[in-house]
């Protein structure tokens, strides 16, 4: 059960045609993500990490190769609402309360009213925002807003969570706190998480698998299976194992940059 691949990409390529000629956002990417994995994609900007996430989410289409999500094409996976997507900005609607914002995908997907209420309550507790249901987004801090947007992605029954630099705009202290919460959330919900970041400590701290990517063309240079235990206090970042993995990630990133 644990080894069943959730995402499989084979020779995946995506080329954008621009007026300056073709841009190879992704080139021959091969990757397997297993159920329950926490996979981080790390690399400099232009390495295709976000593009890869968007292909998984059917927000972009590959130009060559194949990719399956839950055994079907990304389009079918999207239509069966197989994943929740958390964007860089919380993107909460100012005219809806926090509860109303979390309810939005549930309304769209046609959950009945009682079920909606119960789900909103549950996910708000999950992200530690119980009691904020009736508040409006502007009454919350940036970190809380991003937690609400994670709650929104968790509210419906998707077992994959795609996160595109969700904490990129937040300060370090808030970020540490949210990373800790995200891990406990992952532990509680048994979701498969794909997480785009450009912070090495964040990637190493969170992931069971770290995918190091490099630009021009966007490709995978290293895949590191983390030996760290599932249970990770923040202090784990000072252990030799952690530092060793961080080193390997840094080396991978440097190697990818060699041609600059």
């Amino acid at each position: 059960m644990n080894d069943q691949p959730v995402v499989t990409a084979e020779n995946l390529s995506l080329t954008f045609e621009t007026s300056d000629g073709p841009v190879h956002a992704l080139k021959d990417v091969n990757l397997e993500v297993h159920k329950g994995d926490f996979v981080s994609f790390i690399g400099p900007s232009g390495c295709g990490k976000t593009t890869f996430l968007r292909v998984m989410a059917d927000l972009e289409q590959q130009t060559a190769g194949t990719i399956t999500v839950n055994g079907v094409s990304p389009e079918e996976a999207r239509k069966s609402r197989a994943y929740g997507y958390v964007f860089q900005a919380a993107g909460l609607y100012p005219w809806r309360t926090i509860g109303g914002n979390i309810r939005l995908p549930l309304e769209i997907m046609g959950y009945d009213k009682a079920d909606q209420d119960q789900r909103v309550k549950r996910v708000l507790e999950l992200v530690d925002l119980a009691g904020f249901e009736k508040k409006f987004p502007w009454q919350l801090s940036g970190g809380m807003q991003q937690r609400a947007s994670i709650a929104r992605a968790l509210a419906f029954d998707a077992d994959i969570l795609l996160m595109d630099e969700p904490f990129g705009a937040l300060d370090e202290i808030v970020r540490d706190h949210l990373n800790e919460q995200l891990l406990s959330l992952w532990d509680k919900t048994h979701k498969t998480i794909c997480f785009v970041t450009h912070s090495i400590p964040e990637a190493v701290y969170l992931s069971t698998k770290i995918v190091v990517m490099s630009p021009r063309p966007g490709r995978i240079t290293d895949v590191i299976d983390s030996p760290l235990p599932r249970e990770r206090p923040l202090e784990i970042r000072d252990t030799p194992e952690f530092i060793e993995i961080a080193h390997r990630v840094r080396d991978g990133l440097r190697a990818g940059h060699g041609d600059d």
Partner: protein, 286 residues
Amino acid sequence: MRNLLPVLTVVAAIIALWYGAAIMLNSTWAQDKATRAGTTLSMTELITDTWSQKKPKLPVPHQVAAEIWQTTVEKKITSKRSLIYHAGITFSSTMLGFVMGTALGIALAIGIVFNRTMDMSVMPWVIASQTIPILAIAPMIIVVLNAVGISGLLPKAMISMYLSFFPVVVGMVKGLRSPSHMQLDQMRTWHASASQTFWRLRLPSSMPYLFTSLKVAMAASLVGAIVGELPTGAVAGLGARLLAGSYYGQTIQIWSALVMAAALAAGLVSIIGLVQRLTLKRMGMA
């Protein structure tokens, strides 16, 4: 209240300029009268005369105010000489035209945003429609509609609509397209239908644009109503008062109708402004 002083200062300056201009513009006629009567005017007499002529080139504020007082407070509303009666007629076709124009504008904007063919084909015509001078097309609308048996309020409202739908189309197209790529992608990840995206994201996002457009549309609608009243034979309405005034050289009447029209426009636009503030505040967008 802090901005009351600057506003009052500007108003005082305008009134002072106005009285001064009236002396300059009306003095020729005062001097002519004096020459014919074989008298000469002292400075005080000249000024008093220029400020109290029956058909001055430029009536002074107190003359206009007196005329407005006589034709509003001192006349019954049902009287044909009541400015309120005429303003009411203009108001009703302004409102009908405004409502029709807003509806048409929103409908066109939705079509343009959701349908590529409409985007390519309708927008140029919408813009072209506004390059035709309304004064040229207004009599034709009246005549054509009269020929098919439509007269009264509707033809005037059509002219108002013709002017007021334009700002609504332009504003709403922009407004309905205002959600970011991220917000639209988000809807896509939820596999939301076009109508769900419209009602839950595009329409609420467009509200600030809608209200701004409505203010412009309301002012345009009033202009349309007044222009629509000119070719109807100057029967009733503020436009009719303007036309009748210019036929008979009743400058005071013209100015009082103008002031009334301006007050009406200011009132209507500020009502929209109030609704805008309340709505956007409730929506957390103000």
